[in-house]
Amino acid sequence: MRHTPPLPQGEYYDALPLGVVIIAQDYTVVYWNRTIAEWTGIPSKEILGSDLRERFPNLKDRRYTLRIQQVFEGGPAAFFSTQFHPHFIRAPLPGGGVRFERTSVHSLRERGEAHAVIFIDDVTELVTQVHAFREMKDRALAELEERRRKEAALALANRKLGLLSSITRHDIQNQVMALKYYIELMREEKDPETVAELLKKEEIIANAIEMQILFARDYQDMGIHAPLWHRVTAIIGIVKEALPLGNISVVADVGSLEVQADPLFEKVFYNLIDNALRYGGPGMTTILVSGEETPGGLVLCVEDDGAGIAAKDREHLFTRGYGKHTGFGLFLCREILSITGISIEERGEPGKGARFEMRIPEGKYRYPEDAP
């Protein structure tokens, strides 16, 4: 059956820079304008009278038919966006590739019969420009983020500089004074037992100075490099190798958890597990690392079943210089974590074990699906 264009003004559509197609209710093409003929390479005489869905099978999909049916029934125009329907009528570009299209389908009654007029706009240039704009914007945002990170690193460096200078000036100087005092005592001392006692004290001071220098080295490195994604199970594995665990079992129940933190993140676990081993007491058997997602982010716990931490010690735990050993470990943990907005607090029960909770904000942790 031959269909004739239902509109006398059909020829005017030939002048439009839009693809214009008119179909009957059974999808028979009754009009095919010059523009769409040029884009598709299908001349009007070849497609008139044939089913549009046979030439363009994507139109058989319910995503199209349901909405086009509503148009045939006299409903409002159906609009098909480029993002969801980039190629309504597949039309190749002369240089290769396919045109991006924006399409609308309108109801038309002609000679008492329902038709649909399809208007197709070639938006290839727009799509190219928007994608270029998005890339440019992403780059600008990344540069802005990098600048923010550098500014934060600079502020941190200033803070660290002040602290490092105070460590060298006060802590080491105090230790050196004490060392000199013991050396003076040794010069005058004849009793071998007292000399041995003084030597022990000098050794303790030398160790303390060494610890302060090591802390200064770690602290100097902190925040210099961009945060990385750390696989928590991998870190625990390294820490377990490095520490004398004896009979203590260290369990990581965190799945594929990864945390975005300073490259020194490993030191946090080293210090927390080292602390547990030092002060957990003889009754301690297990150190457990676990994670729990909460509405505000992830709570990552390092807990043990040892002696726990006395309530009076809790508020000073993370203060520099506080503690039985060097007094640097937990201070360093807090500083390393704070670089990426992670907080830490101790919430264990004295006598039942220590429990360190790290609160990791949304976006700073992830569970990669392809992880083993």
């Binding site: 409903g75 993002q83 945002l141």
Partner: protein, 202 residues
Amino acid sequence: MIIDEGSVDAIRELINIGVGRAAGLLNEMTGTHIHLMVPEVRILRYADLVRENRVLEHDRLSAVTLKFEGSFSGISMLVFPPESAAILITALTGERIAAPDLDALRIETLNEVGNIVNNAVMGSITNVLNEHLTYSMPTYLEGSIAEIIETGRTVDYDWVILAISQFSLADLQVVGTIMMIFEIGSLDTLLKKLQDAEGHRI
């Protein structure tokens, strides 16, 4: 004009049928599992719309509008705060971006989502009434609610059907508003026709 609870219920049911169809279509189109709900429908005077805080609390809104004319006339629109619209569109298209915004392509996509919702709601109403209306092209507008409604307005409006609509997909919830603003006398006609249709069903 007296608007009884039964009429509001009938309109709520029709809008819910419409958004249910729209959600089905969006699911098929995007491969996502979007759920659309209209927990609240109210009818208010056009003059009172400006006092409707939940619609007007944003200085800038994104709206997809559809004008209709016939035995009852007016404008149907789906309205979002632009940030919510951007979040919804990026979720529907599966884009992974840190700060969603509305560029030309995403505006087009929002236009299609609004077109689907508006058409489904209008289709639901006209089907039950067996009514034929004439429609304008779907149009995307941005601005305050007053600016959006005033754009191209040539007639006086009278009543507004306000339907708070909730789009849920995955763990995301975006709230938009479906508004049908009626020209003088048009809501009376719609309610009368609904009552007649209800009477025929009984």
